[in-house]
């Protein structure tokens, strides 16, 4: 009944690939944020999986830190979206060109 580490790792790889696809293709700022979230979650899954199979508390601890940082990232990212939306009335990154330095 024991799952093997490789299963979790493969799921994680799939999630990572989906996330990268989303980042590459989508031009909607919010959707890109979704993609980032998916990638972060893939990483967390790996952390916890390795932490379980090489029994060590560090994996879970790092996952907790990672989730917390993700929360901070989302807060800032959504604030950015609001700012950009307020300026351009749109959430398409093509319109955000002028944000470049």
């Amino acid at each position: 009944m024991t799952n093997e580490l490789i299963d979790f790792t493969l799921v994680s790889v799939a999630m990572l690939a989906i996330g990268i696809y989303g980042l590459a293709v989508k031009r909607n700022f919010i959707r890109m944020l979704f993609a980032v979230e998916i990638i972060i979650n893939a990483a967390n899954l790996n952390l916890v999986a390795f932490g379980r199979f090489l029994p060590h508390a560090g994996g879970q601890t790092m996952a907790l830190f990672s989730i917390a940082i993700a929360a901070a990232e989302v807060a800032v990212g959504l604030s950015l979206i609001i700012v950009a939306y307020r300026m351009y009335q749109n959430v398409d990154i093509a319109d955000f060109r002028s944000l470049k330095g």
């Binding site: 009944m1 024991t2 799952n3 580490l5 490789i6 299963d7 493969l10 799921v11 799939a14 999630m15 990572l16 690939a17 989906i18 996330g19 696809y21 293709v25 989508k26 031009r27 909607n28 919010i30 959707r31 979704f34 993609a35 979230e37 998916i38 979650n41 967390n44 899954l45 916890v48 932490g51 379980r52 199979f53 090489l54 029994p55 060590h56 508390a57 879970q60 601890t61 996952a63 907790l64 989730i67 917390a68 940082i69 993700a70 929360a71 901070a72 990232e73 989302v74 807060a75 800032v76 959504l78 604030s79 950015l80 979206i81 609001i82 939306y85 009335q89 749109n90 959430v91 093509a94």
Partner: protein, 170 residues
Amino acid sequence: MADAAFLALTVITIGSAIAALEMRSLIYGSIALMGTLGGIAGFFFLLDAPFVALFQLAVYVGSIAVLILFTVMLVKRELIFKMIEDRRRKFAGIGLMLIIMVSLGAVFLDSGIKTITTDELAVDFRDIGKNFVTYYWPALILMGLVLAGSVTGALVLARREDVEDDQRTN
């Protein structure tokens, strides 16, 4: 039992991850994202990490998803349903995705990870709590700073300075 649950969770997670990116409506996309996050929480349960799993549920589904939903509802209705994408770019993205999947998957399958199994006890969540304040305490402080910085930055970003105050005085 765990295998069936694993398969179900895999389907839920990956399916809703794709849905989150491909659904026409951003609201449904957010709901699908919630599904992804919940699926990951399910994986954490399967990995005997209930603390992380519940943390994931409480933080990701409970608050981050709320924030995302809220922000999505802020934008105009037509934007919620608009898909902006390029066809060629999409195929390129799918190719990229497949390449990453296959290559990384092959690498992992070929590596020693495949043979790793365990029959040791799961890590007790109390160890995590101890880790936090003993071994990892600089990281804790750092994370506090990151959180503080993020809330400060988010507030400073989201406020608007150009308020025409004629209508909104009391």
